[in-house]
C-alpha cells in the first residue's frame, strides 16, 4: 500500500490550543498614539462645530471697527476676551474659526460619504462582474481623471452656482473616481479568493456574494479611504471659499478667512495664520486617522 506517514495518535482532537490570539481592532486603534491624537483632535472639532453658538465667545459676524486688528492674547496691544485677536473689521477670529468648522466638517462628511457611495458601488460592480462592464466603467474613470480637478471643481461651481450643495456636488463628481479605482482593484483581488468560489458552490447569487462576502473585505480599505477623502474635501472647500465660490460671504469659512487674511497680512498676520493652521491640522488629523484605520482594519495585517 501507498502510505502517508502519521505522527499523531489515533482520534486526537483539534483545539484552539496554542493558537495565538491577536489583539482586537479596538485595542490596536487605542494603542496607536497617532490615531488617538488625530481622533481626539477631530472629536474636538466635531463638538466645536455642533456647539458653536454655545462655545464661541462672540457673534462671528459682529463687526467693531474700534477693535479692529487686535493681536492674539500674549502680544502687545491684545485685549482680554479676544484670544486669537480680531480681523480688519473687528470680528473675533476665534469665533469665526469655530463657526468655520461647521462648513468644513459638513462638506467633509457629506461629500466624502456620497463620493464613497457612488464610487465604491461602481468599483464593486466593475471589479466583480469584469469584462464589458468593467472596461466601460474603467474607461469612464480614466477619461474623468484626465480633467484637472481644481479647474473642474471651479467650473462646476460656476455652472451650478455657489452654495454648500454645489461644493458638495463638485467634490462628489470629481472624487468618486478615487473610490471606484481602489474598490475595483480590491474587489478583483477578493473575487479570486477561494471563499468566493465556496460561496458560489453554496448556490449564492452574484449579488449576495458581492454584498455578503466581498463588501466586508473591501470595507477596511474603504473606511480608510473615506477618512483620507474627508481631509481632501476640507481642502477643496477651503479652495472654493478662497476664490469666493463656496457659501455666501456672511457664513464664516476657513477658506474665506484665509482670503480675507491675505489682504491684511502685513497689518494682522494672525487673521491668515489661524485658519491656515486649523486647516493644516485638520487635514493632517484626517490623514493620520485614515492611515491608522488602514493599518488596524486590514484583516491580513491583523494576523
Amino acid at each position: 500500500m501507498v502510505e502517508v506517514s502519521a505522527a499523531r495518535p489515533e482520534g486526537s482532537q483539534a483545539t484552539l490550543g496554542d493558537t495565538l490570539r491577536p489583539p482586537s481592532i479596538r485595542t490596536r486603534l487605542l494603542g496607536d498614539r497617532k490615531v488617538v491624537a488625530a481622533g481626539s483632535f477631530l472629536l474636538i472639532l466635531i463638538v466645536a462645530a455642533l456647539a458653536a453658538p454655545l462655545i464661541a465667545p462672540r457673534d462671528p459676524l459682529d463687526q467693531n471697527l474700534m477693535l479692529a486688528t487686535l493681536p492674539p492674547a500674549g502680544f502687545a496691544g491684545a485685549e482680554p476676551g479676544y484670544v486669537l485677536g480680531t480681523d480688519d473689521l473687528g470680528r473675533d477670529v476665534l469665533s469665526r474659526l469655530i463657526f468655520g468648522t461647521r462648513v468644513s466638517l459638513t462638506v467633509a462628511f457629506i461629500a466624502a460619504g456620497l463620493a464613497a457611495l457612488l464610487g465604491s458601488w461602481l468599483g464593486l460592480v466593475a471589479g466583480f462582474l469584469g469584462e464589458g462592464i468593467d472596461s466601460l466603467i474603467s474607461r469612464l474613470v480614466d477619461v474623468w481623471m484626465a480633467f484637472p480637478p481644481v479647474l473642474l471643481s471651479i467650473l462646476l461651481v460656476a455652472v451650478l452656482g455657489t452654495g454648500l450643495h454645489s461644493v458638495i456636488t463638485a467634490i462628489v463628481v470629481i472624487d468618486w473616481t478615487r473610490f471606484c479605482r481602489v474598490v475595483r482593484t480590491e474587489t478583483m483581488a477578493q473575487a479570486r479568493m477561494d471563499y468566493v468560489v465556496a460561496a458560489r458552490a453554496l448556490g449564492f447569487s452574484r449579488f449576495a456574494i458581492l454584498l455578503r462576502e466581498i463588501l466586508p473585505n473591501v470595507m477596511p480599505v474603504l473606511i480608510a479611504l473615506i477618512t483620507l477623502e474627508m481631509g481632501i474635501a476640507v481642502v477643496v472647500e477651503a479652495i472654493l471659499s478662497f476664490v469666493g465660490l463656496s457659501v455666501s460671504s456672511d457664513t464664516p469659512t476657513w477658506g474665506g478667512m484665509i482670503a480675507a487674511g491675505r489682504q491684511s497680512i502685513h497689518q494682522a498676520w494672525w487673521v491668515l495664520a489661524a485658519p491656515l493652521l486649523a486647516l493644516f491640522a485638520t487635514v493632517v488629523a484626517f490623514n493620520q486617522l485614515g492611515d491608522g484605520l488602514a493599518r488596524s482594519l486590514d484583516p491580513v495585517l491583523r494576523r
Binding site: 501507498v2 502517508v4 483545539t15 484552539l16 493558537t19 471563499y195 458552490a201 453554496l202 448556490g203 494576523r303
Partner: protein, 298 residues
C-alpha cells in the same frame, strides 16, 4: 455497484482563449451512492475543470463542447443558473482546496457555517447556531462555541479545513466535491482530515468526488480512481486494482513516482520522457480523429 448518483459522459471542454486547446477529452465517469471516486493527475491535467464543470463555475474562457453531467436525473450543464443554485449547497457541496482562503477572512465562523442552514434549510438563526455547534463537534473540534466566535485567521490550517468540511456536510448533501482538500496541510493533519472525510461520508452515505495530484492520498480514501492525463482518462479502476495491477503504462509510471513507505528501498522513478512523448502523440492523433476519441477510456 449500486445506482449512479453522478454520471459524467463524454465531457469535452476547450480553452477558447488558447486556440481551442482541449482541456478535457471525452471524460466519462460514474460515482455510485456512497462511493468515493478519486481523480488523480498532474497539474493541468483537467482535474479541477471537471469539479468546476459540475459546480457550474468553469471560467468564461473554458467552453464545454460536448458531453453530459447527470446528477440524479438532472442534466447539470443545461440547468438554468437559478435551478443550479437551488441544487448547489443543498445536494452538491464543495470542500475547497486552500483552507487559508476558502473561509471569508472578514466574517466569523458562525456566520459562514450558518449561511447555508438559514438560506437553504430555512432555519432560524438560533437553530442554525445550535446546528453549527453540532457540526463542529462532528468534525472533532473540541470547543465549538469558541471556534464559532472566531475569525478564520485565529484558527490553524487544520482547524480551518475541519470547519470547511463541517460547512460542506452541513446540509447533508448527496455529493461532496473535494478539490485537493489536503494539499495545503502538513502530512500528519492530512491523515486526520482524510479519516474525517471518510467517516462523515460513510455515516451519511455521501458520494464524494475526490480530486488530488497525490496518488498516496487518493489510495487512502477512494473506492475507485480515474487517472487523468492531458484531460483524458487513462485508466479507471478500483483503488486495489489500480495499486496492485495497474494496466496503463502511465498509471505504472505514476505509481513509480509516488513515495512508498511500505517499500522505501524501491526509490522514486521519474516518469520516462519516452512515455510522455508517446502519450502526447497518441492524444494529438486522436484529437485529429474526433470519432475515435474516448476509445482508450477505461
Amino acid at each position: 455497484m449500486s445506482a449512479a448518483r453522478l454520471s459524467i459522459d463524454d465531457l469535452t471542454a476547450v480553452s477558447v482563449r488558447d486556440g481551442n486547446r482541449f482541456m478535457l477529452r471525452d471524460v466519462s465517469l460514474k460515482i455510485a451512492i456512497g462511493e468515493v471516486h478519486g481523480i488523480v493527475g498532474e497539474s493541468g491535467a483537467g482535474k479541477s475543470t471537471i469539479a468546476k464543470a459540475i459546480l457550474g463555475i468553469i471560467p468564461s474562457q473554458v467552453k464545454v463542447t460536448r458531453g453530459r453531467i447527470d446528477f440524479e436525473g438532472l442534466d447539470l450543464l443545461s440547468l438554468s443558473s437559478t435551478a443550479l443554485r437551488a441544487v448547489l449547497g443543498r445536494d452538491i457541496a464543495l470542500i475547497a482546496q486552500d483552507p487559508s482562503t476558502a473561509l471569508n477572512p472578514a466574517r466569523r465562523i458562525e456566520a459562514q457555517l450558518t449561511d447555508g442552514l438559514r438560506l437553504k434549510r430555512g432555519l432560524s438563526s438560533s437553530e442554525a447556531r445550535m446546528r453549527a455547534g453540532t457540526l463542529l463537534e462532528d468534525v472533532q473540534i473540541r470547543d465549538p462555541t469558541q471556534v464559532l466566535r472566531s475569525y478564520p485567521h485565529q484558527l490553524s490550517g487544520g482547524m480551518r479545513q475541519r470547519v470547511l468540511i463541517a460547512a460542506a456536510f452541513a446540509l447533508q448533501p448527496k455529493l461532496v466535491i473535494a478539490d485537493e482538500p489536503t494539499t495545503a496541510l502538513d502530512v500528519t493533519v492530512q491523515k486526520q482530515i482524510l479519516r474525517l472525510i471518510r467517516s462523515l461520508q460513510e455515516r451519511h452515505g455521501t458520494s464524494v468526488l475526490f480530486v488530488s495530484h497525490n496518488l498516496g492520498v487518493v489510495a487512502k480514501i477512494c473506492d475507485r480512481v480515474s487517472v487523468l492525463y492531458m484531460g483524458k482518462v487513462m485508466e479507471q479502476a478500483t483503488t486495489a486494482e489500480l495499486l496492485t495491477a495497474p494496466r496503463h503504462p502511465y498509471t505504472k509510471a505514476l505509481l513509480g513516482a509516488t513515495p512508498r513507505y511500505d517499500a522505501p528501498e524501491s526509490g522514486l522513478q521519474p516518469i520516462p520522457p519516452g512515455l510522455i512523448a508517446a502519450l502526447r502523440a497518441e492524444i494529438a492523433a486522436s484529437d485529429a480523429r474526433p470519432a475515435d476519441r474516448g476509445s482508450a477510456d477505461g
